[in-house]
C-alpha cells in the first residue's frame, strides 16, 4: 500500500513573546504525516502540541519554516484562501465543543455551511453524520441539554460536514469521563475508514495506547517544542 504524504512540516518553528520574554513553542520541527493515518500528538502541558495542531490547521502562522498540506504551502495564504482551506481541508474538534446554544443539533452541524448556503443534500449529509455519531433521533434537540459526550459527537459531525481531508482534535476527551472519552476516540479513529487523516492532541496515555494499537495509528511525542520518537519520559508519570 502506497501512503501519500498529506502534511509536511519543514524546519518549522513558532516563537511567542518579544525580546527578553521569548517562548519557543516549536523548535525546528520536521514532520510528515501520511494520508489516512490517525496520529496522536502527545506531550506534557506547554510542550507545544496545541501549537503544532494550530499551525497544521492554519489557525496560526509559523515564525519560520514551511508547512505543506496537500502540497499547498499554507504559511502565506491570504485571508480568503485561509477561509477556503479551513472550510474544505480541515475540520476542528475542540475540548470544549463550542456548540452554539441557541440553535438545534442539526443547525450546529450545518454552521460551517451557513454563509455559503445550504442545499437539501447538505441537510441530508448532516443528518447522516448525526446518525454516524449516534444522534439521529435527536437532530432537533437544543444542544444545551446534551451531555458532554453527545456534545462532542455533534462537534465531530460539524467538523465532518465539509468532508475535509484532515480532522484536528485538540484534547477531545479533556472534559469527558473515561468511558465516554473512549467512545469518542473510537469514533475519531474510525474516521480513517472514511479516508480521513485524524490528528489528536492529548496528554492521555490511554488514547495513545488505543491509537498505537490501530493499524494506521501512530504516536508523536513532543517535548520542549521538539519531536522525539522514543520518549525519555514516563508517560504514566505526567
Amino acid at each position: 500500500m502506497i501512503l501519500i504524504t498529506l502534511i509536511k512540516l519543514k524546519k518549522t518553528s513558532k516563537v511567542y513573546g518579544e525580546q527578553n520574554n521569548i517562548i519557543k513553542a516549536l523548535d525546528n520541527v520536521d514532520l510528515e504525516i501520511e494520508e489516512g493515518k490517525v496520529i496522536t500528538i502527545m506531550g506534557p502541558s506547554g510542550s507545544g502540541k496545541s501549537t503544532l495542531l494550530n499551525l497544521i490547521g492554519a489557525m496560526d502562522n509559523p515564525t519560520s519554516g514551511e508547512i505543506f498540506v496537500q502540497d499547498n504551502e499554507i504559511g502565506g495564504l491570504t485571508e480568503r484562501k485561509l477561509s477556503k482551506f479551513r472550510k474544505e481541508v480541515v475540520g476542528f474538534v475542540f475540548q470544549n465543543y463550542y456548540l452554539l446554544p441557541n440553535v438545534d443539533m442539526l443547525d450546529n452541524v450545518l454552521i460551517p455551511l451557513i454563509p455559503y448556503g445550504i442545499s437539501l443534500q447538505d441537510k441530508e449529509r448532516a443528518i447522516k453524520l448525526l446518525e454516524m455519531v449516534g444522534l439521529r433521533d435527536r437532530i432537533h434537540s437544543k444542544v444545551g441539554k446534551l451531555s458532554g459526550g453527545e456534545s462532542q459527537r455533534v462537534a465531530i459531525a460539524r467538523a465532518l460536514i465539509n468532508d475535509p481531508s484532515v480532522i484536528l482534535a485538540d484534547e477531545p476527551t479533556g472534559n469527558l469521563d473515561s468511558t465516554t472519552g473512549k467512545s469518542i476516540v473510537e469514533l475519531l479513529i474510525n474516521l480513517t475508514e472514511r479516508g480521513k487523516t485524524v490528528i489528536i492532541v492529548t496528554h492521555d496515555h490511554r488514547i495513545a495506547k488505543m491509537v498505537s494499537e490501530h493499524p494506521l495509528g501512530k504516536n508523536i511525542w513532543i517535548k520542549d517544542g521538539q519531536l522525539t520518537d522514543d520518549p525519555e519520559f514516563d508517560i504514566y508519570g505526567w
Binding site: G57, R86, L110, P112, I114, P115
Partner: protein, 422 residues
C-alpha cells in the same frame, strides 16, 4: 442544487439577534420609540399637506378684496362701498374674468370677552359676519354647507355656527341656544342671535395654539343694523370675494396685481382696496410646511443617531461576549465578511423589529389622536405608504450603521488569539 445563501445566514442571524434577550428587546424598543416619532410626525405632515393641497384646489381663482390696509385680514374697519362690485366688474382686463362673487359685512366688536376662556385658545374670538343669502348660494358658500339644523332666515336674528365651534365651545351651542355679543367696547350695545344651524368647516390645518376667529353667519341686514346700533359706518361690505375664470394660480396673481395697480393709481377713488389671492396665503402656509418637513428630517436624523447608538451599544455588548464564537466560526471556514454580514443582519433584525413596533405604536397613537381634538388640532393624520417606507428606510439605515462597527470588531477576531485564551 440551488443554495439559498441569503436565507440561511439571515435565519441564523435572526436567531442570534436575541441571544441576549433583554439587551435586544431594549435596543429594539429604543428604535421603536424613535421611529414611532418619525412615523407620527410624518403622518401629521402628510395630513397637513393633504389639507393644503385640497385648499389650494378649492381656492383656485379666488381673490378677496378689502379696504386698503397693511394687514391683509378681514376687519370690521374695512369699509367697501356697495358700488365696489360694479367698479371691479368695470376694471379693464379684470372684470371680464369675474365669473362669480360674494360679499360679507362684519359686525363691530363682536369678538368681545363674552366668551373668553370658553374657546380653545384664550385669544380665540367669535366674529359675526353678514351674508347675502342668494349670493352665498351662488358662491356655494357656508350657507350651502349646513350639516345640522337649517339656514338662517332674514331679519330673524338667527345665526349658523361652524362645526369646529360646535365641537370646542365651552358654552351652550346646540340648535336653539342663544349667543349674546356686545357691539362696542363698553358692552352697552348687544346683539342676540339664535343658533339655528351648524355648517361644515373645512380644516385648514391651523394648530390650536394659533389664535383663530370663529365666524358665525347671519344675514347682512342684521349686521348692518348692528353696525348702525354701535355707531360705525353701515351699509358697507367689509370684504368682497371674487372667483376668476383661470386655470392656474399664477393667472390669479396676475389679476390681483392688476386690481392693486388700478387701485394704487386712483382707479377706485375715493376708495382704495387691497386684493389678495388665497393662493398667496397658502404659499406662506407651504413655507411653514417646508419648515415642518425640515423639522421632521432633523428629527429623523436625531432619531437615527439615537437609535443607532442603542443598536451599537447593544451589539457591542453582544459581540464582546461572543468573541470565542466568532473564532470558532472562522475556524470552520467563515470569512471576515461573513461574520460582519452576520452582525449587520442581527442589527437589521433588531432595527426592523423596532420599526414594526414603532409603526404599531405609532398607528395606535394616530388612531387615538384622530378621534379627539388634541395638540394636532383637527388636522387629519394620514398614514401613507411613503410614510411607512420612510420608517423602513430609517430602520435599514439604523440596522446597517448600528451593526457596522460591532461587525467590523467581530470580523477582526483572530481565532488563535481567542482560542489560546480559553
Amino acid at each position: 442544487m440551488v443554495r439559498l445563501k441569503f436565507r440561511y445566514l439571515l435565519k441564523f442571524s435572526a436567531k442570534n439577534a436575541f441571544r441576549k434577550k433583554s439587551t435586544a428587546i431594549l435596543s429594539s424598543f429604543g428604535v421603536s420609540i424613535g421611529l414611532m416619532l418619525v412615523f407620527v410626525v410624518g403622518a401629521y405632515t402628510a395630513g397637513v399637506q393633504a389639507q393644503f393641497n385640497d385648499n389650494l384646489t378649492r381656492t383656485l381663482g379666488i381673490v378677496n378684496i378689502i379696504e386698503e390696509t397693511e394687514i391683509l385680514i378681514p376687519s370690521p374697519d374695512s369699509n367697501l362701498p356697495l358700488t365696489i362690485i360694479d367698479d371691479l366688474k368695470n376694471t379693464n382686463d379684470v372684470g371680464d374674468f369675474i365669473i362669480d362673487y360674494n360679499v360679507e359685512s362684519q359686525a363691530p366688536y363682536s369678538y368681545t370677552v363674552e366668551y373668553w376662556d370658553k374657546l380653545e385658545n384664550p385669544d380665540d374670538k367669535i366674529i359675526v359676519l353678514g351674508l347675502n343669502k342668494s349670493l352665498d348660494t351662488n358662491w356655494r358658500g357656508f350657507t350651502t354647507r349646513i350639516i345640522q339644523g337649517r339656514n338662517f332666515e332674514i331679519g330673524q336674528n338667527e345665526t349658523i355656527i361652524s362645526s369646529r365651534l360646535a365641537n370646542i365651545a365651552d358654552f351652550p351651542v346646540s340648535i336653539g341656544s342663544k349667543i349674546k355679543l356686545t357691539l362696542d367696547l363698553l358692552g352697552t350695545e348687544t346683539l342676540n342671535l339664535t343658533i339655528v344651524g351648524i355648517y361644515e368647516q373645512i380644516e385648514d390645518g391651523t394648530p390650536p395654539f394659533v389664535p383663530r376667529n370663529y365666524a358665525i353667519y347671519t344675514d347682512i341686514q342684521t349686521v348692518w343694523d348692528a353696525r348702525n346700533q354701535s355707531g360705525v359706518e353701515t351699509d358697507i361690505y367689509t370684504m368682497v370675494s371674487l372667483r376668476f375664470d383661470v386655470n392656474i394660480h399664477e393667472d390669479t396673481i396676475t389679476l390681483v396685481d392688476r386690481i392693486n395697480n388700478f387701485s394704487n393709481n386712483g382707479g377706485y377713488d375715493p376708495t382704495y382696496v387691497s386684493a389678495y389671492s388665497l393662493y398667496a396665503f397658502y404659499e406662506t402656509v407651504e413655507q411653514n410646511l417646508e419648515i415642518i418637513n425640515s423639522f421632521t428630517g432633523v428629527l429623523g436624523t436625531i432619531t437615527a443617531l439615537a437609535g443607532g447608538m442603542a443598536i451599537i451599544v447593544g451589539q457591542l455588548m453582544s459581540v464582546s461576549s461572543r468573541m470565542k464564537e466568532f473564532a470558532i466560526l472562522k475556524a470552520t471556514g467563515w470569512k471576515s465578511r461573513h461574520i460582519m454580514t452576520n452582525i449587520i443582519y442581527e442589527s437589521l433584525t433588531l432595527s426592523l423589529l423596532g420599526a414594526g413596533g414603532g409603526l404599531a405604536i405609532g398607528a395606535l397613537l394616530i388612531f387615538l389622536l384622530s378621534g379627539n381634538l388634541t395638540a394636532f388640532g383637527n388636522t387629519p393624520i394620514i398614514i401613507t405608504l411613503p410614510g411607512i417606507i420612510e420608517v423602513v428606510i430609517y430602520a435599514v439605515l439604523l440596522g446597517v450603521l448600528g451593526g457596522l462597527y460591532p461587525g467590523i470588531k467581530a470580523s477582526k477576531v483572530r481565532p488563535i488569539k481567542v482560542l489560546k485564551e480559553l
